[in-house]
């Protein structure tokens, strides 16, 4: 399958996450408006950052004067999973120029990466993830605009019950990954157990993320090494 055909496949396959991204975009638009971000600034943020978790994290600290260091740290921490997502794609973007890979990494996205693992080998992963990313980018920017335009209707409304929507969407991605991944489940099961133990002993959230991923990777390395002995 050519890159272009795979890109179209990515576009067509993105329907489910197009809708959930749209929902988050509307919520982001409403939240940004409530935080005093001007419409064009919120739209610029959605188009250039293209990361729901990073953008929501930044709003938590959106006050005058803007605390650059705090925003930078929080954005990095919530985006650190991108490092792992991009590493997992290393072998799958073969056959394209380095320039093309570097440019197209701009729209790397969790659902595209996770669902690409379920695709047949003949699908061009870079084209697929890019098609998926274009659809989600369109959804994200359009829904941000919609959220900004309807924000006035939600003045004073309690939307706190939707705070947990992020983990719900992440759970759908985890299930797609768990059912579609051809790799062993041992590393991520170990990561989950480690995260639970670290949480119970009162470890800060950013350390839970880093340490449990490191422990999961260590489990994966041990498993691979013992499998080849």
């Amino acid at each position: 399958m050519t890159t272009y055909q795979s890109l179209l496949l990515g576009l067509r396959s993105s329907g489910a996450y197009f809708l959930s991204t749209f929902l988050f975009g509307v919520m982001f638009g409403i939240a940004a408006s409530a935080s005093g971000v001007e419409n064009w600034q919120a739209l610029l943020m959605s188009a250039s950052v293209f990361s729901a978790s990073a953008q929501f994290a930044s709003l938590e600290f959106w006050q005058s004067p803007l605390p650059l260091g705090t925003i930078a740290l929080s954005v990095f921490l919530v985006s650190s999973r991108n490092i792992l997502l991009a590493m997992s794609m290393t072998h799958h973007f073969d056959g394209h120029s380095l320039g093309r890979r570097i440019i197209w990494l701009f729209i790397l996205n969790d659902p595209g990466v996770v669902t690409s693992f379920r695709m047949d080998e003949w699908v061009d992963r870079l084209g697929y993830v890019t098609g998926y990313g274009i659809a989600l980018m369109a959804s994200w920017v359009l829904s941000t605009a919609l959220g900004l335009s309807v924000a006035g209707l939600f003045d004073g409304a309690d939307l706190s019950s939707l705070d947990f929507a992020g983990p719900l969407v992440m759970a759908t991605m985890m299930m797609l990954f768990a059912k579609g991944s051809k790799s062993s489940p041992t590393p991520w099961i170990v990561s989950g157990i480690a995260a639970l133990i670290l949480f119970e002993v009162g470890t800060p959230n950013y350390l839970i993320l880093m340490l449990s991923v490191v422990i999961g990777i260590a489990a994966a390395i041990i498993r691979e090494k013992t499998r080849h002995v």
Binding site: S48, P65, L84, S88, M170, M175, W188
Partner: protein, 106 residues
């Protein structure tokens, strides 16, 4: 309203950081890709990251949030239907918080 220049700098910085995480991960992956046995380990990374974020979130969740996530997991397991699972989970969140808040459990 905020001054325009600091806002633009902040947005540019956020954009650069997010892109740097994507690019950085990919470039590190390129450096170590020649180690053949690393490939299955690299492909386990997204699952490790999702679990490391999800488990503490669920552990801190209210009864309604735990029911919502169990509902999502169950529907995804049975149907693979992302829209159905997400809508059902959100419905549990909204209806559950409204219902349980009166009982003090929500």
């Amino acid at each position: 309203m905020y001054e325009q220049y600091p806002v633009l700098v902040t947005i540019a910085m956020m954009s650069a950081i997010v892109y740097a995480t994507r690019l950085g991960g990919y470039l590190v992956g390129l450096k170590i890709r020649h180690i053949g046995w690393l490939r299955p380990i690299l492909e386990a990374f997204p699952g490790c990251a999702f679990m490391a974020i999800l488990v503490p979130a669920v552990r801190q969740g209210s009864p309604t949030e735990i029911i919502a996530i169990l509902c999502v997991i169950g529907l995804m397991w049975k149907t693979d239907n992302v829209v159905m699972a997400t809508v059902a989970g959100m419905a549990v969140l909204v209806l559950g918080e409204t219902t349980l808040s009166g009982t003090g459990l929500g």
